[in-house]
């Protein structure tokens, strides 16, 4: 029963783990994506996305409550049998790997554009992979501590954004709902995907020390992420003109570019360096659950061997092939699509199935 006892997470670690996974590459481009769809009303879509994500996460927690002590990987063979279960597990691993790869490749791509334009991608890949290995090999508890640490370390960043207040013009945000609700809803599609990361609750639930806080914790995590998204988006909208913001690939970074102190210019570079920590709290969990799934598939408890192989693969991959920015976009799209399925559709179907099953059995425990 207590298979995962040695790796338990505290409630705070659980919150920051999920929150860290949610806040990733999305923040950089989110203001533009929202502005393209909904103009300056995009911030309303964040609220709607937050509601959707919270509902989906609560469903996941509710589902996992029925299978105490088991992660999704333990459940798959139970539901699908041995061989089909293998296939489904492989799909889960692929999903996590895709998420991790997309974020790593994007991170490397951004560093290449923004700071080190001459340095080849594989050098950056090696530099990313070494610390990644050192953290992930420690297991889930280390990851939880890492997520918490990074959260505290990056707390200053939203505060510094306030220094663009003198340049912001709140007229940009008016009128609210300028073109009605339709654009707001269509932009919601991209915001609900920014909240992806909560689906890791499928894995995390059995690791949680005090299960009674599982629902509360995931709501807090979603809310924290929502606040960050909201903060960045509203500030970008007030700073950039609505006609202008769609010109930038990563408006959030451009926002930092204008902040200048007497003793320090180009804060965007520092921001970006710190931002890599943000990215790492997205990649590391996905990376961990990739190798967690694969090692469970072959029945070994030690995930480090697989992790080592994965790291080598990343470096070799980066050496053989540098993804173009179009590739990166495609990867993100595929991730979003699969995330939509894994994070929203499956929980809903599963939950409905459980409800039907219960009713069919006349109120017996499903």
């Amino acid at each position: 029963m207590k298979k995962y006892a040695f790796n338990e997470l505290t409630v705070l670690q659980y919150v920051f783990f999920i929150h860290g996974t949610q806040v990733g590459i999305g923040v950089l481009s989110m203001p533009r994506e929202l502005a393209e769809e909904a103009g300056t009303d995009g911030w309303i879509s964040i609220l709607i996305g937050w509601v959707c994500a919270t509902v989906a996460s609560l469903l996941i927690v509710n589902i996992m409550k029925r299978y105490p002590g088991k992660t999704i990987v333990d459940l798959i063979p139970v539901f699908f049998g041995k061989w089909l279960g293998m296939v489904v597990s492989a799909l889960v691993a692929c999903y996590c790997a895709l998420a991790a790869m997309t974020v790593i490749a994007n991170g490397i791509g951004i560093v290449n554009v923004w700071i080190l334009s001459q340095t080849p991608g594989y050098v950056l890949a090696i530099l990313t992979v070494i610390p990644t290995y050192m953290v992930v090999q420690g297991g889930l508890r280390v990851l939880g501590r890492y997520a918490e640490l990074i959260f505290y370390l990056t707390l200053w960043m939203p505060i510094v954004v306030f220094s663009i207040l003198p340049y912001s013009n709140w007229l940009h945000l008016l009128p609210v709902l300028k073109d009605g609700w339709m654009p707001v809803f269509s932009a919601t599609k991209s915001t609900i995907l920014s909240f992806l990361g909560f689906e890791l609750a499928f894995f995390l639930y059995p690791f949680l020390q005090r299960k009674q806080y599982a629902s509360l914790g995931i709501v807090v995590a979603n809310t924290l992420s929502m606040l960050i998204f909201m903060h960045i988006t509203v500030f970008s909208f007030s700073f950039f003109s609505p006609d202008e913001i769609t010109q930038y690939t990563w408006p959030t970074l451009n926002l930092w570019k204008v902040i200048e102190y007497r003793f320090l210019e180009r804060i965007d570079i520092i921001f970006l360096a710190f931002y890599l920590f943000f990215l790492s709290t997205t990649t590391l969990p996905y990376m961990y659950f990739t190798v967690f799934t694969t090692s469970q598939m072959v029945g070994s408890a030690d995930h480090r061997k697989h992790l080592f192989i994965l790291m080598i693969l990343i470096v070799v991959g980066a050496w053989l092939y540098t993804p173009t920015f179009i590739d990166l976009k495609k990867w993100s799209e595929v991730w979003s699509m699969t995330g939509m399925v894994g994070g929203y559709i499956i929980p809903v179907i599963w939950w409905l199935a459980i409800q039907l099953f219960r009713r069919g059995k006349g109120g017996q425990k499903g």
Binding site: S117, Q118, V123, I130, Q247
Partner: protein, 371 residues
């Protein structure tokens, strides 16, 4: 993980740190502090740069070069053939645009690299130069510091007194793309010395349209930013035979605070803007006798009337030239969106038809230390 393994990984990290291939030593860098773009008689683009020279042997403290090129990047290559080090663009303080360049619509595309290349600073001040940029770059007054530093300081201090705007490349980018405002940049000229002329207002295509003098700039700044820096007005007070006297009836006020409210409506096929501006001001100079204690209300009224006249004159001037440096378009979008949508692609034209009312509400807070 074993200790040896950890050590190995950490040392591998350090090994790669020095491997970033983008490193440039400061000795090998030519830090551009000022860049200029102009067009010659044959419509060929000219690029200029000015950068400080850090060398004891060099007599001059900065180097200036100009080249013919088709784009900034091409110009950089040409300039690298001439300057000592590698030209860097991360520290540019001012971008000077020549008069002739600003006669060509769509010149803005030239600046693409500033916004595309992440290493470019976007905090460079945009400057309109009334003349040939080459003259400015080769101008070396003996009593001034390096030209680039002198010019930046000049702009910043003039901006503090609100004699000109201070538009950074980022602001300029916004003003160019924002449909409801016309770009405004610092206008600089050169006679015996480099001189701030005021504010250049550009059309939506980027061509030069009109010049705002210092007092007009002050009103514009007051409208755009409220009270920022020092705002001082000198207002004529009507008096008999005023024009014949040497000492005219003038009063100068220093604004202490200012807040504005813009009421936007759309009636009878045009936009109406009512700008209510509350000032608190102190009298810093008065060249005629006046019983302030008894008649300060009259004084407020007279100044209000003058301010209103001046502001409305400024608006009419802008409307005649079909430019909206105030950004009334933003108010139109915020408060009359349906009407704005119809005219948004041609806002300056719509603004020329608009009705702007200015209602200053001055309250005199101080009279100085003499009566």
């Amino acid at each position: 993980m074993s200790k040896a393994g950890k050590l190995l990984l950490i040392s591998a990290l350090f090994f790669f740190l020095s491997g970033c291939m983008d490193r440039i030593d400061l000795e090998d860098a030519t830090i551009t502090l000022m860049a200029g773009v102009d067009v010659n008689e044959k419509d060929e683009l000219l690029f200029y740069l000015s950068s400080p020279v850090f060398s004891r042997e060099a007599k001059k403290k900065s180097e200036e070069f100009g080249v013919k090129a088709e784009s900034f990047r091409q110009a950089r290559a040409r300039l690298d053939e001439m300057v000592t080090g590698l030209t860097l663009s991360g520290k540019i303080q001012a971008i000077v645009l020549g008069k002739r360049l600003l006669e060509h619509p769509d010149w803005f595309k030239i600046l693409d690299v500033i916004f595309r290349d992440a290493r470019f600073t976007v905090n460079a001040r945009m400057v309109y130069f009334d003349g040939e940029v080459g003259d400015l770059f080769h101008f070396q007054p003996p009593d001034k510091p390096r030209l680039s530093l002198h010019l930046t300081k000049l702009i910043d201090t003039a901006n503090q007194r609100n004699l000109t705007v201070r538009t950074r490349a980022q602001d300029f980018h916004r003003q160019m793309f924002e449909k409801g405002i016309n770009p405004t940049i610092t206008a600089v000229g050169k006679e015996k010395a480099i001189k701030i002329l005021g504010t250049a207002v550009l059309s939506k295509e980027g061509t030069y349209v009109e010049l705002l003098q210092s007092q007009e700039t002050m009103l514009l700044q007051l409208f755009l930013h409220g009270k920022e820096g020092e705002v001082t007005f000198t207002v004529p007070i009507p008096a008999p035979n005023d024009s014949k006297k040497m000492i005219k009836h003038r009063v100068s006020l220093i604004a202490k605070q200012a807040s504005k409210k813009v009421k936007t409506t759309f009636r009878d096929g045009k936009f109406h803007f009512e700008v209510k501006m509350k000032f608190g001001g102190g009298i810093s100079e008065r060249l005629f006798p006046f019983d302030m204690e008894k008649d300060y209300k009259d004084m407020e009224q007279m100044v209000n009337a003058e301010l209103r006249k001046e502001f409305e004159k400024l608006v009419v001037k802008c409307q005649q030239n079909e430019v909206d440096p105030f950004g009334f378009g933003l108010y139109a979008r915020a408060h009359a969106y349906q009407e704005w949508k119809k005219v948004q692609d041609n806002w300056p034209k719509a603004f020329a038809q608009a009705e702007v009312k200015f209602v200053p509400e001055l309250s005199i807070k101080g009279n100085g230390v003499i009566r």
